[in-house]
Amino acid sequence: MTRSLAWKFSPFGEAALLIEADTTDVLANRYALALATALEALAFPGLLATVPALGSLLLRFDPLRCTHEQLEAQVRDLLADLAPAPEQPTRIVEIPVVYGGEHGPDLESAAELLGLSAREVVALHSGQVYRVMMIGFAPGFPYIGPLPEQLAIPRRTTPRAAVPARSVAIAAGLTGIYPKRLPGGWHIIGCTPLEMFDPQLQPPALLAPGDGVRFVPLAEGVQP
């Protein structure tokens, strides 16, 4: 943890401040989460919402109760001796997955693109604990990662108009789970029986930023 990150502060309209790290690696993500948690704990006057993302944090505030300058000063103050969110997540959620077949129609083609067998893709994908780096795109859609280098694959050249709910997919060094039927450009390698989002629950999403995730292959699908 000796490396220090550079942070850029940008006004985001009159009622929000964007704080971006100069990288989007795991360390930047851990700092963004720790900063969100610290600011919420402070109950900074006028702060309305925090939106942590891969390597950034968006702060929405009441412009009649505080200014960009006041919020930036507070954040710089916090960053001076802030510890990043723990490297080992305090909560690890197991996500059962049926890999391949009709539930993972892109498993074979993704494996081919990666120069691996389908079993190797499954072994790598289910072989370690990842982090929920952010939730976005749709309610409850987790960006989970980072994936091992061997699974780095660009998005599909042609996105699908409809990806089935609960599809587990990979792209751009990350893996995600579609909480409902949505358009999408990631490679679908499997499907989980778990419900990712329920607006009647608080919190509404199964996963929260900073959670650990382990994918567990189910017997019906391709085995590692």
Partner: protein
């Protein structure tokens, strides 16, 4: 006096309040009224709390009231009539039982969305702290969807004596500068440096047309192409209504109430909150312009917006007198 509101017709009517803030970190958009000013004004006129739910009526609709109801229609007029008589806008009106409220649609005037508040508010359950409908998520509001003919919406009991409040009006001097082709003020965004040097100038020099694919999530804008300085790949970051993001095709997208919580396109500017009600009153095919401003001006504009919403609303003396004399029929 808590009756029901029966939907007779409607192109796109949704139950909305001021939106749900606080679940963005879980990917939940704020939703809520596109024109929060008009909804807030309508709620105040009928004596509701600021977070009461009303209806956002896009394009056209009609309704029937089961009981005498104090209501106010703000924002676009959409040719509204109550029992075939023109309904005064920005005014608390006491409608008799069985009244028909009809909004046939926009004429030559400005305005796409009318906001209807009924005393008490639309009584639907809160979801994640709000009664707003989030259409693409399918939750909130009435069964998570736009209203259909035959839907019956319960109204909560009126918080104040409706007769006393009838006739109250919202001063025309204390409304946003609504127009058919508004100018939206923007603050340069966090990624201005990623765009070609003339991009902001191009954005503010032209009139933009709202593309037909636009909706409550955002407006795609047709006009000259806004270019990056070099190819860009950004990590997803938090966004909010008012953000103008530019995908690689160069056609800007203005994010609106139902916008996703995160986006990955460079952001050239953010429309100031006080001007979002102007944007909210546009439909596909309408035109808009942008102008540069700064945060100090934006903050003052927002202060004015909030002052207008907090203006004293004296009761109408004529109504008051009628109420005392018992002459006002319910």
């Amino acid at each position: 006096m808590s009756g029901t509101l029966r939907v007779l017709s409607g192109a796109l009517t949704t139950v909305q309040d001021l939106g749900r803030l606080g679940w963005q970190a879980y990917g939940v958009p704020s939703a809520g009224a596109m024109d929060t000013f008009a909804l807030a004004a309508a709620n105040r006129l009928v004596g509701n709390a600021p977070d009461a739910a009303g209806l956002e009526i896009t394009a056209s609709a009609s309704f029937e009231l089961s009981a005498p109801t104090l209501l106010a229609l703000c924002g676009a007029g959409l040719g509204a009539t109550l029992n075939d008589l023109p309904l005064p806008l920005w005014t608390a009106v006491l409608a008799p039982a069985g009244a028909h409220l009809v909004l046939p649609g926009r004429g030559r005037d400005w305005g796409a969305r009318a906001y209807l508040a009924c005393a008490g508010g639309i009584d639907v359950p809160q979801v994640l702290g709000s009664r707003s409908t989030y259409l693409s998520g399918g939750f909130g509001g009435y069964a998570g969807r736009a209203l259909r003919a035959g839907d019956v919406l319960p109204l909560a009991p009126a918080p104040h004596d409706p007769v006393r409040l009838a006739g109250r009006q919202w001063s025309a001097a204390m409304r946003p500068a609504y127009s058919a082709q508004p100018t939206l003020r923007l603050i340069p965004g966090p990624h201005v440096d990623l765009f070609a040097s003339d991009a902001l100038e191009t954005l503010c020099a032209q009139s933009w047309r709202i593309n037909t694919t636009s909706n409550r999530m955002g407006y795609r804008l047709e006009g000259p192409s806004i270019r990056y300085a070099a190819p860009v790949s950004l990590a997803s970051l938090g966004v909010l209504p008012g953000v103008i993001q530019v995908p690689p095709d160069g056609a800007p997208i203005l994010l609106m109430a139902d916008a996703q919580t995160t986006g990955g396109y460079p952001i050239i500017g953010v429309v100031i909150a006080a001007d979002l009600p102007l944007a909210a009153q546009l439909l596909p095919g309408d035109a808009l312009q942008f102008a540069l401003t700064d945060t100090a001006t934006a903050r003052e504009a927002w202060r004015t917006h909030c002052d207008w919403l907090a203006q004293p609303l004296p009761n109408d003396p004529d109504t008051e007198q009628l109420a005392w004399s018992g002459a006002l029929p319910l």
